[in-house]
Subunit: 284 residues, 4 copies
């Protein structure tokens, strides 16, 4: 059941015959398809496909698949991404002081729910170092002194580079990454503690309480240069009532946050998310 698979994500202009062409190529090479999902965005004229097949028995050796995929994508005038299920991404988790998301992610990694490696946790506070030690994960303290944010980000980028990090997860990291950081390291998932696009920016629970909403939410999304406007992967909600104070919203929100983030990350790691035109297709 956990045998290695090849996962192809392809986006290209829509036209008849694409499913046949993709699956035909896999069949010719004796590939056994496990999952095949397609989506046509007719407004945009785009075809999105995610196909997963067994590596074992596939005629092309592992190291030759990429070049074939590149040729295939070129022929279809599209863009392709190739992944192997047995190559676990190296993920850095960014945190500040709150522990709930970090603990949740580390536990899910340990229990096998999240197929990723965590070479480092980066934080602008020391509070969560003991938790990282308990889980045997390296902890890098990068304080953000007023006026020295660029220097701090440079330290982080060096760390990401040295540790060969593919993805950064902001698990309640209470700093905004600069545009420059994101240009150099664009692969970032964030958990925002509101039901976006409601309550973008700071203190969403306080503002939700002020507004008197009856549901609060959490949103896991890819980070872009426009704050809280990146492609949404997952959203969860919780009921609140007039009896709930701001502290209750924060408490209830912790459960929605960690579940939204964990689901989104799992979808990403299994390569079930495709991003296009500021939105996501989630093949769940």
């Amino acid at each position: 059941m956990n045998a290695s698979t090849v996962i192809l994500q392809l986006i290209c202009p829509d036209r008849p015959g694409l499913v046949s062409e993709l699956s035909g190529w896999i069949a010719e090479n004796d590939g056994n398809i496990r999952h095949a999902d397609h989506h046509t965005d007719s407004g945009a004229g785009l075809f999105l496909s995610r196909i997963e097949w067994d590596l074992q028995g596939f005629a092309l050796p592992r190291e030759l698949i990429a070049s074939s995929i590149i040729a295939l994508a070129k022929r279809l005038d599209g863009k392709a991404q190739l992944h192997f299920s047995d190559e676990w991404p190296r993920v850095a988790i960014f945190v500040s002081k709150q522990s709930h998301c970090l603990l949740d992610l580390l536990w899910r990694v340990r229990s096998g729910e999240l197929s990723m490696k965590v070479p480092v946790v980066i934080s602008n506070h020391m509070d969560l170092e003991p938790l990282c030690q308990e889980f045997g994960v390296a902890f890098q303290y990068v304080p953000i002194e007023p006026g020295y944010k660029l220097e701090a980000e440079k330290t982080m980028l060096d760390c990401l580079s040295k540790k060969k990090i593919e993805l950064a997860v902001l698990a309640k990291y209470m700093q905004v990454l600069s545009d420059d950081f994101l240009k150099k390291f664009p692969n970032v998932i964030n958990i925002h503690h509101s039901f976006l696009p409601a309550f973008k920016g700071a203190q969403p629970y306080h503002r939700a309480w002020e507004r008197g909403v009856k549901l609060i939410g959490a949103t896991a999304h890819y980070v872009t240069e426009d704050l809280d406007d990146g492609p949404i992967i997952e959203q969860t909600i919780a009921h609140v009532s007039h009896r709930d104070e701001v502290d209750d919203l924060i408490r209830k929100g912790r459960d929605t946050e960690r579940i939204a983030l964990a689901r989104a990350l799992r979808l990403h790691l299994r390569r079930q998310v495709m991003v296009y035109r500021g939105r996501t297709a989630v093949f769940a």
Copy 2:
């Protein structure tokens, strides 16, 4: 079980002894309390109470209760509202072209879920007149010609007055009521087809699709002069995916809209909602 009850809603400055004072007054008059709910907003220093007791056996005759309540509220420096469960409010339903909320409300009235009378349905289009006829409800056509909105609103206000309407329900009425209208008739519930405060204003489903959200919502709220900013009574949500077009959001949204509106209206009719400081306490 459906015997008549008296319902008191009271808001006053918080201080010790209030529950005792209220329930003591009812007990002295041989009242049998069915429900008693209280809420203290400690930030605002306010005490909110909703008490419901049997009319039968109560020592004060029905017509003398109001004056006693007024005296009680005055003594507590608060504001009180008094209702009798056997006096069904006269409610006008405002609609445009869409039928789902209107049909739902009329059916719930007929089936006994909503304890209200519907003396008139008011619309700026003729489309829903047949539906009203099927349910035996008067239909008043008040078109909104460009430049003649004030005249149209005057016609509506006359109708509300003549029909002795207590509450107006905007059941997908696609016009904005003027501030002047709301000053003259402030008791209005609206259903907005988004998860407020996200997507205030026009075409929320189109904008939700553009943003790529994973959940859509509906919000039933009291109408105030600030569009879509009134006190929220009820919110519901539905899951959407990349496969859903705008039309699918609209279709799925119809179910969330009619359920949020029906729940909110039922809560209002049972006098379970108290409004204060731009928000609601819902004693459900």
Copy 3:
């Protein structure tokens, strides 16, 4: 967007190359695939596929597609079903006294949410005849006298046959259909007012109240000879509390029932449901 499509549902033993073979056959005939969903039940060794493509531009004329599909299915040792999106099924709705599901379905047909024809409503009570008249739907009264159930069912079967009914929907029909009926007319969807398999059989809300559950549910399922044990299509839930009496459960349940039934029926009508081994795959 609403152009006619061809929908193929196929179940066959799993082996490599099936997606390619199906999509290849469609591509060879110039078919433009709109949706393609597959599922492999590895435990059962089965491959399930649902493919939908444009009728327009397809090389095979409409009337020749079926024989090609039969040959294809035979070659794959599987079973296939073929549907055209512009051929709306003829559906009979069975009811007793409760109106909420019937009204909901008729409204959804009228508003275009459900692509089906309703040539007849069959009932063992007269209560809902006026509602059918309002919607212009034929109403057939078939009382179930004690000891004469077989005769009544024969009348119903004659009606289904005469009206060329493809599917029967039990929309709160409070009678159990006999095994004999189901042998002669097996294509039946039911809404059960509990979260199956909890509270099979009679009076689920009373028993849910007795048990003190905190959530109630509704289950839409295909009917089989084992009462309430048929393949589940859709389930919905609602929260309840100690304040809810049995009547409140019944009231809240009406909303879950009609939504579960409407969703299940829409999925069925769009041929998104495949039944196998007592369960369903729902390609939503």
Copy 4:
């Protein structure tokens, strides 16, 4: 905000004047009521009340409240329970091999969500000892050898007694406690991994998968001698589809389990749950 409070839970035969009598007694003693919730079960003729008031400023000294409450309950022919919010219960957590609920509870205790002490974790396996060490909680290994269950339970009961435990929480403890154990220590909360009363007993996820349900659930309940039939405190659900294998149900279920258990335990610890006639009233 976290000042100490007194919490009274009272059940007695219903009659007029009870709210006044209770709140009057508190007012006479200068108590400032924070929360007052009442429920009348008219079928059973019972009145349930939970009142919480400030300890500070209350005229009766802490150690004299209990005897007054006893007298009050006697006068009303009822049963009362008295708690102080600053007296945190001593809770033992029972586990087997799975860590998700234990980790979740220990984290919530550490973060202040659950006001309780955990003097000991008891387990029939050694697996979770390291986790307890990380959180600085004593771990007691009590293996259940075939034929020696009574001896093992005696060891557990001794431990509970020695550690002055008030409540036991079965956080995925995969053993059934004997009737004898429950007679000696009846205050036990369990998390069952199904939507009770569906799938009582062993392997609910396997059976849910077999049945092809579209929702799975978890139920937190008080334990009684009838397995999985105790009063329900909280239920949560998660959506599943045909794509989910049994392992996916187990994985998704872990999130519903830990959330249902944490919510139920928090409600219990805040004395918001009242048990009567095999069911609960939850004043949330």
